[in-house]
Structure formats: structure tokens, C-alpha cells
Symmetry: C2
Subunit: 411 residues, 2 copies
Amino acid sequence: MTPTTRDDCLRRDEKDPLAGFRDEFLLPSGTVYLDGNSLGALPAATPGRVARTVEQEWGERLIASWNEAGWWEKPRTLGAGIAPLVGAAPHEVVVGDGTSANLFKALVAALRLNPERHVVLGERGNFPTDLYITEGVSEIMGAVERRVHADNRAALAGALAAGDVAVLLLSHVDYSTGALRDMAEITRLAHANGTLVVWDLCHSAGALPVELASDRADFAVGCTYKYLNAGPGAPAFLFAAERHHAASRQPLTGWHGHARPFDFSAGYAPAEGASRFLSGSQPVVAAAALEASLELWQRVDLGLLREKSLALTDLFIEATRPAGLRLATPREPERRGSQVSLRHPDGYAMVRALIERGVVGDFRAPDILRFGFAPLYLRYADVFDAAQALVEVVRSGEWRDPRFAVATGVT
Amino acid sequence: MTPTTRDDCLRRDEKDPLAGFRDEFLLPSGTVYLDGNSLGALPAATPGRVARTVEQEWGERLIASWNEAGWWEKPRTLGAGIAPLVGAAPHEVVVGDGTSANLFKALVAALRLNPERHVVLGERGNFPTDLYITEGVSEIMGAVERRVHADNRAALAGALAAGDVAVLLLSHVDYSTGALRDMAEITRLAHANGTLVVWDLCHSAGALPVELASDRADFAVGCTYKYLNAGPGAPAFLFAAERHHAASRQPLTGWHGHARPFDFSAGYAPAEGASRFLSGSQPVVAAAALEASLELWQRVDLGLLREKSLALTDLFIEATRPAGLRLATPREPERRGSQVSLRHPDGYAMVRALIERGVVGDFRAPDILRFGFAPLYLRYADVFDAAQALVEVVRSGEWRDPRFAVATGVT
């Protein structure tokens, strides 16, 4: 039941089984932060954890910490911490490098596993780095790139039926519209057509339950700095299904992905498991922040998270109706990520005016006002207030103030 | 003049123009740290700088910091901070990804700039990740990998004279022996044979003056966590000579390397300058530590640094002579990095025994006792004491204690 008044919201907050998590984040006062799908908020435990890594592990113990503090194993231990959040086995996930580099590795590995075929199928309107990396991979591998509308099932089925698609790359949740794709069904369809699937989980990991293993995903990548709260530009993760481990070859063959790195042998031999997707040394200080946030995430019931996420997005969709903006996000809960996107040609100015009222969302060209809902630190009352503020911004016309009109750098 | 007594050393320390830098590092007490070539010590300013990024930039300002705190520009601003340390122009260096990924990018770009040729020439005994990445690049590019002894000038000249080498990858300073290669001469020789050169600066950046531009290097990569003190696994850097910018194409085509990333356009178009070598979002918290250390490095006179480095390594070589270990590092100053390596089949146990005495070096298979000398935080007296300790360890036979015999993980 979607609450309809602020009092309803306050009552929902009182009963919210996830309410306690809010105190585990350090949030700026006077702000409703609806941009956790761009950069997640800071967990309260993180500054101390980072300081310990800097001052004690690095400063006092220096190189001894590669063993003592488990630095060498972090790509695996952090991967194992992410695994339950994405429905994978611990040895199927490793942490390291950025999302773009991991996409590169996963796409090349998938192409090599399907050597009779040479088409990489991407989606129109995917996040740019996914498009660009696909271009880069296609060029270097001599593959052909095609794109399809991922939410047009007939088009997707038709593209796969061509029978020449080696690998399909899709975002599980569209970064712009917030549309959630049916991982199980699309993966089944792809496999039935002899195609492997790489899933981009940037907007679903930590936003909703992901079931990579039971949905039979082949590979997946994702970032940790959005819903997983690991900090700006935090290391990304890569999932490789166990059935592909032995045959997978990725080209960023750094020494951390070697079977016996401390032999310092002259030839490369890939490690067992997903470890073969590792390349070089990873930023340990950034990994410390991820470790702090994952400790928190181990205590989260993803079923409750999804329930609250849908309630919050429902609430926002309903409460912003009077603004009269067109909804870009699917109305059906099962097709929605933890995000609400609204369309307006002047969306940029509206988002800026809203930020001035303390409600932080973002804008994505050409016309998307984008709001992310992180159920761990958002209250129903916050979302109600944010929706009211947006309605007032739009109705009042205050967004027409010239100071909101100028686009500046990163948005 | 190499000091020969501890009193000589104390006098040298009193007159040392770099002595003041020692107070800008937080060093563990009771330790002489000769492993700054593996992981540099913690600058005193770093914990505060990291905490500011975590607590204020991330925690309070959240996504606003991509603009306000200059996060988006960090790969360029940090690159500009490294540029004077390696003799490059500010727009020729970018920071991001790891050394392995940057090697991959540089090697692919160099191969593409020399499309008539298909040989990548590496060096026997280079650091494993250089060997393995060369293997990965050769495989994906259909290139042929050859290796040569980099310190055998005739062999190197012969290999280049074959006339089919597209790109030569060399370490400026050998990680194992500490041998310094003549960048100007080798680059000239390579160019005369139609070969481009990628230099690995992991063991020279921050260890001695590097002159990429005047030595006509084509590409270079390096890490920041050794002599540059940016912390474990800190982001790496990549240098691309300006003359190659326009034609260079690297395959990790993430959105940070796009000419107009905020257009979110469907096709990739490489950015101007070295920025085209960027891929995805970088760990900002780790970058903060690099920023803190680079502020310190801007005040370092690299001529004085080199002078002290050679004096320290001379001192260590002379003072450890009574130990009777074979010197692996070139005795000639102009062929020596900021490192002294000694050989003994039981080197592992000797290094462990030495660590127990508070002198931290490391061991590299099969027989190298490796000692790095960071002139910013090492005193002549420290080095004298460390040398004495090594002599005593070897002479006393205390390294034969069985507890020093077992290799454990990372060394």
C-alpha cells in the first residue's frame, strides 16, 4: 500500500525493519539524497576503517601488511563479500580494476569462448562506457558490433535468432530509465541461441536481489560506489560463472592473475577460479572503504530491501504525479530498479532548482530527471518531502531562474 | 666520498640538504626501512588528506565533489604533478588504472602506431607482470613476442637490427638487480631501427631524475606506491609523448577517455592529449593519498636526490663487503638505480633474520637480497647500521635458525 500523506510515511518509518541502517551512514544534514545510484553515501564505519589501513597497516606495518592484513587476498575476500549480494559463489567473484576494464576482460573472454561467432550485441542507449568498451573490444578482436533496444523483446529475440551473436552485453537495470531486465528469461533466450551473456550490474547490485547463478549468467561486472557505498571510483567487481573458469582467457594478464605469482616464472599461467581475471596490484586504501561497507551489507535482508525499494519508488511516482512530468521508469514493479526517472526538456534546470531546496537528484541528457532510492538510508518521510519539493519546483517555475540554466561539467 | 665510520655518517646527516624531509614521513620506530622500492613509507600529510576526502568531500558533499573537489580532473591534475618528476609535459601524463593495465594500453597503442611490424621485444628477467602483459598483448594482437638480455648491449642491438621489432618494452631500472638502463641511448638505437619504446618506470620514478621528453621516449608507465609514496596499490601513471597523441588508439576505451564524455554520445571519440588513455572512474580515495605525496615531491630537488641516493647505495655496498655476498647491482654509479641487490642461495633466510633485527629489505627469487634506498627518509647513519646488521647476520649464522627457513606468501 503506497502511503499518501506525510503521517502515513512517518508511521511506515516507525515500522520499517531496515530503519536502523540509517544510523550507520553519515549523511549531510538538511539534504534528501536521491543520488545514491551515482555515488552512495558514506557508511559511518568507513572513516575509521580507512584510517586504520592508512595509519596502522600501511604506516606502521608497511610491506608486512601484504600478508598480515590480507592485502594480497583482498580481491578474493572482497569478491566473496559481494558474492551473496549477486547470487554467486564466493570463488566466482573478484574485486579489482574499474568497471570499464572488467567489461573489457569479460567481453574478450566471452568472445574467445564462442570462437565460431564474431558479433557482439549491445544495447542502444546503454551507459556510454559499455558502448565504448564494446567498440574497443570489437575493434581489437575483429568482431562486429550490433545494438538493439533491450526493452523491445521482439527486437532482442530477432537479433539473437540471427544465430551469429557470440556475446550479448546488457545492463541489468538501465542507468537512465531505471528499467529492470528479466535476467533469467533473457539469459535463457540467449543461451538457446548459442549466445553468452555479460550482465552489467552497476545499477542493480545493492539495489535489489540479483541471482547470477540461478539465472545462469555467464559473466557480470559491476561497480561498488553506487548502491554498495564503497566511495568514489571504488574498485569494481567481476563475476565469472564457475563453468567457464577453466576455459576463460582474458588479455589483461597481470601477475595477480597468475597461478603461482610468487614463482616469478617467465610464462603466464592463469590462476584457478575467477582469480584469473585479476591483473595488477589494487588500491588497498580504496579497498578498505569497500570492506567497511560490505560488513554492513552482510547484515542486509535483500528481500526486505527490495520491498522497501519498491515502496519508496511507488511513493515517489505517485507523489510527484502533480508535477506532470512524464514517467520514464516502468510502472510495473517487476520491471523497475530502485530508481525513478522523469522526463522534461528543462530537466537540467529543474534538478538544479531542486538541489537548491536540499533534494539531490541528477540529470542525464537529453531530458531525464533521475532519482535513486537507497533503502538503507532513506525514510518514507524523506521521499514524501522530496516529491513535494519537486512538485513545488515545477509548479512554481522557480527552475526558470537563469542561474539554473548553465550546465557545468559533471552532472 | 663514501663515509666509512658511523661518525662520518652522522656528520653527513647533519649537512644533508634533504634531511628535513624525514620529518614529513611517519616511520615505524626501531626500524630501518630499506623496502621503499616495494612500498614507500607513509607521508605525514597523507592521513589527514585521505580523511578530508572521505569525510568532507565524499561524506558531506557527495556527488558535488566531482566538480567542487576536482575529482573528475584528478587523472590529469595528478598526471601533471608526476610530469616534472619524469621529465614530461603536464599534458603527457595521466594517472589511473594499474601498471599492468597501462602497460597493456601502451603496448597496444605502440603496436598500432607501427602496423607494418609484428614483434614485441621484451627483456628476459623483467618483472613478471611486464612479461605476462606482453604475452597477453601479443596473443590478442597477433604479434610475436621475443625477449633479450637488456643489459647485453650487443644482444639488444642485434635484436633491434632484425628490423621487424614494432615495440621494445624495457624497465628503466631492473626490479631485481637495480641496473639502470641508458634511456637516451637505447631509445635512440630503437628509433634508428624503426622501433618504438615503452619504458617501465616503476623503479625509477621518484628514485632518480627521469627525462622522458629529452630522451625521446615514446610511452612510459609507472607505479606510484614505491618511491612516490602514494600507498599500497595506488593508481599508476601513463606517459604518452605529445607527438603520438593524435594517432594513438588504445583499446580500453572507457568514457573517461572520450573527447566529450558528458555528451553521452553513442560512439567513441578519443579525447585530446594523454587523456585518451583514460578508461573508467578511478578510486578517488586512493588518489587523495597520491595527491598528498605529490605535494611533498614538488619540493624535492631531483639532482640532490640522485646525489644522496648514490651516496647511500655506495655506502651500503662498501659497508656490507665484509658479509662476502656477491653484488648483483652494477658498481658504476651511472648504471645503478636507488637499490642494492646482493646474491646468496640462502638469501631468503638472511632477509628474514635481518628483519628480526629491525632492518627491512626483501627477497626476490632465486637468490636476491634486495635493498631499496629512499633518500627522503633514510639517513646515512641508518644505512650504516643496516649494513652492520647484515654483516652480523651473515657472519653469525643466525639466519640458519629454522624459523627463518619457511617462505610464506608475499615476500
